[in-house]
Structures are given as C-alpha cells and as structure tokens.
Point group: C2
Chain length 139, copies 2
DNA sequence: CTGCAACTTAAAGCCAACTTGAGGTCAACA
DNA sequence: TGTTGACCTCAAGTTGGCTTTAAGTTGCAG
C-alpha cells in the first residue's frame, strides 16, 4: 500500500517515466493520488507493468493489453478472453521453440546449404502450421 | 530450384508483395532472376521468410534478423551470434510461460484482488528476473 | 497483334509506441 | 524563504515497418 513516485516506478519497472505517462493516457495504468502535481503510485502498479511488459513481448498491442485489463461486469466474457490470450501465448511459444532449434541447427550444421539439410527441412516444415498469421488479419 | 513469382511467394509465405520488395531493399531476401522486370524467386526464399516471420514474432527487429543472415567470412562469430540469439529466444519463452500461467490464473482465480493472492504474487516475483529489458538498452 | 492484369519503381503516407521540447509548477532542503 | 531539480502538460517529432499512390512496363491469353 505504500506510495511510490514516478521515478521510483520507472526504476523498478524498467519503463521510462514518459512511457508511464503515456500508458496512463491509454488507461493501462493509473496513479492513485497526487502530491501536488506529482503522481503517486500504489506498488501494485508494478505487477500491472510486469504484465504489460510480458504482454508486449508476446506481441500484443497496447490496445489489446488494455482490453484484457478492462474488468467490466461481463466476467465470463473476460475469463474467456483471458484463456484465449493464454492459448495465443502458448501457440507463440511453440513457434519460438522451432526458431530456437532452427537457430542452433544453423549454427552447428556443417551442411553447405541448409535448404538441402533434411533436419533443417523437417523443422521448417513444422513452422507454417504454427504460424500465427497476424499479417493481413488486421481487419 | 523451381522459380516462382512474387504473388506466389506472397501467397505461400503470408507476406504481402510490398513487404517482400521492402525486405529486398533491406537485404533480407533476394530474387534470383528477373523475367523482364518481374522478380523470380527460388523456393528457398520461403524458408528464409519463415525464419524472418519467426524472428519477428520473437521480437527481433528486421535489422537484427538481417545481421544473423549475413554469413560473412567470420564463421565463428556468426555461429556465436546464432547461439546468442537462440539463448535470447529461450529466455523469451520462459517469460511467455509465466505470462500464460498468469493469464490463466487471473481467469480462474476468484480472489477479489490478484495482488493479494499468494499464487499470483509468487508468479509475478519470478518475472522480473527473466525480463529481457530491451527498454532503454537500445544504445 | 492487341489489350490488360499483374507486375515495376520512387516517393509519400500511415500507424503504433514512444520521446523530446518548451514553458510552467511545486516539494523539500539549506 | 528562496531556489532548485524533479516533476507537470501539451504538442510536435521520431522510428520501425510497412502500404499506398502515381506513373510506367510487360508477359501472355485471346
């Protein structure tokens, strides 16, 4: 419950103060009070920021992250949405596992051309199935 | 070895033709010949594009992806770089696993406030250690 | 051989996610 | 009680990753 100020939040979260103010305009976080003009934060903001950070690294836009945070009265819809997001993250993880394996393979394989290496070919063959096509799916 | 044209590559890869041309200007891909003005691609470009796509979803910039593709004469440096990238991807995976668990927890936990739920608190406590602070680390 | 859909280039435009800058306020320390 | 440095707001600027537009070219079906 202790109050911390913006520079402290910045230090602890790794986000710049300017980013924190920006997130506030988007409704992703709030300061719970002001000391004069200065924002004072409850330390639970740090959990929220950690989730934002992870959400970003999972490829979600700030808008999507904001939607997930909106705990409106429709609890069931909310829970469903969260599970859907979790599914997306797990899909993403599967893709990244292939990438990690591909990178290590390319690093170690002495074959002249990877496109002719059966191990590599087999790995690549798994990827398209998993690919989360965000490409043109916008809209 | 068969030659395919840009719209075919677009269809098969999920990238738009404009994106493919853009990637060419960045040196991420090349067309191996032209039929008149029109680009003709070797089908190995599809593997490359799959790697680009996965690299992007792992949060790497096109510039970083390009660097990894530069197979210059310094093979050892190249291999080292690839393993480093693979390490980053694996770190990223660990973070995403926490995110997935956190999302499912928030969806299912009936506690009034997650910040007071010990399960949630414990999960969040693991996150900061893993966080790949790309934030200000840019230079 | 003609027409046209599908390509081409170069430049400008767009969006998300911030950052920076200018000008102002104020908490706290000396 | 004054000053100073950390905060504030609002607007404009920046970067990355493309897309769109305009104007031109060309493979190929009919």
């Amino acid at each position: 419950m202790k109050s911390i100020d913006i520079s402290e939040v910045a230090k602890l979260s790794g986000f710049k103060a300017s980013a924190l103010r920006y997130y506030e305009t988007l409704g992703l976080i709030q300061s719970d009070s002001r000391k004069g003009l200065r924002r004072q934060y409850d330390d639970t903001v740090l959990d929220r920021l950690a989730l934002i950070s992870m959400g970003q690294s999972a490829g979600f836009s700030l808008e999507e992250i904001g939607e997930v945070f909106q705990k409106d009265e429709h609890f069931e819809i909310d829970r469903q949405r969260l599970h859907t997001k979790a599914d997306e993250v797990e899909q993403h993880i599967r893709q990244l596992r292939i990438l990690a394996r591909a990178l290590r393979h390319v690093a170690d394989c002495t074959a002249p051309s990877h496109s002719e290496c059966p191990t590599f070919r087999k790995m690549m063959a798994e990827a398209p199935k998993l690919a989360t096509r965000q490409k043109q799916s916008k809209h």
